[in-house]
């Protein structure tokens, strides 16, 4: 029997999650639909009163998938504190069961990925037996997830930088959508390892104006809010259309790398933010402050802090940043607190005002240093010619055939036993 499994989408990150579970035998991964107003309203209807927005959105997605997509096994990440995220799954399960749905939520422990508790869902979601064979599929799934996750990060990073320079409006959006569609359907490792070339080739086709020096902003904040374009009103695109170069502080790939203790970018940010927040208090609070101080040093023009209404860690970070303005924190910052009632019109006024403020700040603020450098990504895409990379052939040439031989082993064993009988 094939089990239909799904998960909350969290923007484009769903492409990576899909890769993680697709190779497991006996599992059919259901593509979670794009978040819409109806889904958010559905979630808000059954949620506790002042819980944070990601809870409502994910609950809405679950209900929608149960009712319309015939799917009632979900994978949801849990944590061990101190933020609310770790406690989503039990409450959501309780609410769904009280509503009368037959639902299974499989928690995936993301507190510390090096203790390998996150491998448990692989064995829980399927009823097909055979441990060794599963190991091969798991490795395959992890490779899909990592590769796809890293390409999603690349695509979204290039998107923010290139959109402000495009000559024909809308080119970048089309390219990004096209690339993500290709990435979603790509299940061949050989092609996936070369996919960064495809990304660069596609972005190279966009005609851009390289002479301008646009305003630079950084968008950081709570992961779900920043990564889910419906919830944050596609803030990256909105700022890009105003002619502003957008850098993004959040990505799923970076988060997973941080949880594997190898994201050194985040480690430096922690060191920068240490006097203000001495420990990880959940959410992205410590990195938001780190990003803010770093951006101020690098001469950015503005900073956007996006978070769900009443998010405990982010609100604490906001309090610290607000208290330290205008000295020593002089970089203009705008806070966007999202809940299910947020509409675009109210946001647009604030967004436009912030753009004007940044322009004036560039002229009038004596502390502002104009040290604009063209981001290295532009050179990467448009100047450096494609070259052959040898390391990837190691995976496609040696690792993969080896894993395939492993896959045959258990079958041989079974044959032997049958023979003995």
């Amino acid at each position: 029997m094939v089990i239909r499994v799904s998960f909350p989408s969290m923007g484009w990150s769903k492409i990576a999650f899909k890769g993680l579970y697709r190779p497991i035998p006996g599992v059919e991964v259901v593509d979670p639909p794009v978040v819409t107003r109806d889904i958010v309203e559905l979630g808000a209807k059954y949620s506790p009163e002042f819980v944070c927005l990601p809870f409502k959105v994910t609950l809405g997605e679950f209900i929608n998938m149960i009712e319309n997509y015939n799917c009632n096994v979900f994978i949801m990440s849990i944590d061990c504190g101190p933020c609310r995220l770790g406690f989503y799954a039990p409450i959501q399960e309780r609410i769904l069961k009280d509503l009368g749905y037959d639902v299974t939520i499989i928690p995936i422990q993301q507190d510390d990925l090096l203790d390998f508790q996150w491998l448990e869902p692989f064995y829980k979601i399927t009823k097909v037996k055979g441990k060794l064979m599963r190991m091969v599929d798991i490795v395959k799934g992890i490779r899909f997830a990592f590769l796809k996750g890293s390409f999603i990060e690349d695509i979204t990073r290039y998107e923010g930088i290139i959109r402000c320079r495009e000559i024909n409006k809308g080119d970048t959006t089309k390219t990004v959508e096209k690339l993500l569609k290709i990435l979603d359907k790509e299940w061949d490792f050989q092609k996936l390892h070369q996919f960064h070339k495809v990304v660069k080739r596609e972005f190279k086709k966009i005609p851009i104006n390289r002479d301008i020096e646009p305003l630079r902003i950084m968008i950081a904040g709570e992961n779900h809010i920043v990564l889910e374009p419906y919830i944050n009103m596609d803030i990256v695109k909105k700022f890009g259309d105003e002619g502003i170069e957008v850098h993004q502080g959040n990505s799923l790939y970076g988060w997973v790398m941080h949880k594997l203790h190898v994201n050194f970018k985040r480690k430096t940010l922690e060191r920068i933010a240490k006097p203000y927040i001495p420990m990880d208090i959940g959410g992205e609070a410590i990195w938001v402050i780190g990003h803010y101080i770093k951006c101020q040093k690098e001469g950015f023009d503005g900073f956007i802090h996006a978070y769900p209404f009443t998010c405990m860690p982010e609100v604490s970070a906001r309090g610290i940043i607000e208290g330290q303005q205008p000295d020593p924190f002089y970089l203009p910052i705008q806070f966007y607190s999202f809940d299910e009632h947020t509409g675009y019109e109210g946001m647009r006024t604030r967004l436009e005002a912030f753009v004007d403020l940044m322009k004036l700040n560039r002229k009038n603020n004596p502390k502002f240093q104009d040290n604009y450098i063209e981001p290295p990504e532009i050179r990467e895409i448009f100047d450096i010619p494609e070259k052959y990379e040898g390391i990837n052939t190691f995976f496609t040439g040696i690792v993969e055939p080896f894993l395939n031989t492993l896959k045959i082993l258990p079958k041989l064993k079974v044959n032997k036993r049958q023979h003995e009988k």
Partner: protein, 345 residues
């Protein structure tokens, strides 16, 4: 600044947040170290207003009140050497306090601007034991290890004594006794009796008041809920009145999940105790929640659904700086009336 014989250090403690729980511990601890402990006065509407002015608008009301108390301390005792702001990270392995407690010293230091230095007692059993955190605290004041361990044990003993006393006596009055300042004496307000004298005491209702200690015993922000309930002929039980043995067991939601907030753990344990053993001893539950409280927003859902299943009347009161007195009275009055009708009919 070190402690010398000539100069007794003056340390101020804001009367807010976990003062309502660990206050006796802190005062005993600092007094053993020969410090002059100053406690800010009871919460007034001025303090609340001062706090909301400076704090970020999305913070929960207890933190805003904390800001107000710090400002009040600074204006009342301008010659303070230190302000004592503890950092509670975890006092039990696998458990945390709310994220706002984790960075409380920084939130106050960078949120409000003042010159008085902050002294922090960090309690983090995940990293180092309780005695080690006491020793770290002693390094700032210039005490050696032995004294600090003695101070810690003395404070612990005093704290346990206080809890035993509170088990029988009036918790709020006992807390007020910690502050010897005559200016801060609370005047006892005479509350209006709601029940006519002829039937007073005949139709008693037992009510469990759940919530954080800084909501339940903060008489300004909850408009003296316990006093009012008593004026309505109710026997009020709180978390502190539960036998200590009830808190020793670990709580599980089911085999996959565990609950990781410290004070929410106590609330859940109390709720579970009254669902299981003490089911017939209570008639209704009131849950006090401060607006925008993160952990409570989820725990409230569990408690509510549990109570619904066992058919115990349940009311949640959300507190914020704008909540009026009459709205609250109407709600608890109708709640008690409803229970009374159900019980004595």
């Amino acid at each position: 600044m070190n402690q010398t014989e000539k100069h007794r250090l003056k340390i101020g403690i804001p009367r807010a947040l976990y003062f309502y729980k660990y206050g006796p511990f802190w005062t005993a601890f600092l007094e053993f170290l020969n410090c002059d402990v100053k406690i800010s006065g009871p919460t007034t509407s001025v303090i609340v207003e001062e706090g909301t002015k400076d704090a970020n608008s999305e913070l929960c009301i207890p933190i805003k009140i904390y800001f107000g108390h710090v400002k009040n301390l600074l204006s009342e005792f301008p010659d303070l050497d230190y302000i004592f702001i503890p950092r509670y990270v975890s006092s039990h392995k696998e458990q945390f306090f709310c994220p706002k407690f984790l960075i409380l010293p920084e939130a106050v230091k960078y949120g409000l601007k003042f010159d008085t230095p902050i002294i922090t007692l960090e309690i983090n059993v995940k990293k180092n034991s309780e005695h080690e955190s006491a020793i770290n605290f002693g390094k700032i004041l210039g005490y050696n290890q032995e004294t600090m361990i003695k101070a810690w044990d003395y404070a612990n003993q005093k704290f346990e004594e206080f809890q035993d006393k509170a088990y029988e006596g009036d918790y709020i009055e006992l807390l007020d006794e910690l502050d010897t300042n005559p200016k801060h004496k609370r005047k006892k307000k005479k509350l209006k009796q709601f029940i006519p004298e002829a039937i007073r005491g005949k139709f008693m209702v037992n009510i469990l008041v759940l919530g954080h200690s800084y909501n339940v015993y903060e008489t300004h922000i909850n408009r003296d809920l316990i006093g009012r309930l008593e004026a309505m002929d109710c026997n009020v039980t709180t978390i502190e009145k539960l036998p200590k043995s009830e808190f020793s067991e670990k709580i599980t939601i089911n085999e996959q999940y565990h609950q990781y907030w410290q004070s929410e753990d106590e609330i859940l344990k109390t709720a579970r105790y009254y669902l299981r053993d003490g089911k017939n001893t209570i008639d209704g539950v009131i849950f006090l929640i401060s607006f925008a409280c993160g952990p409570d927003s989820l725990i409230q859902e569990i408690v509510m659904r549990d109570m619904k299943k066992r058919k115990i009347s349940y009311l949640d009161l959300v507190l914020d700086e704008h909540s009026g007195e009459s709205g609250l009275i109407t709600r608890i009055e109708s709640f008690t009336d409803m229970i009374r009708r159900k019980k004595y009919n």
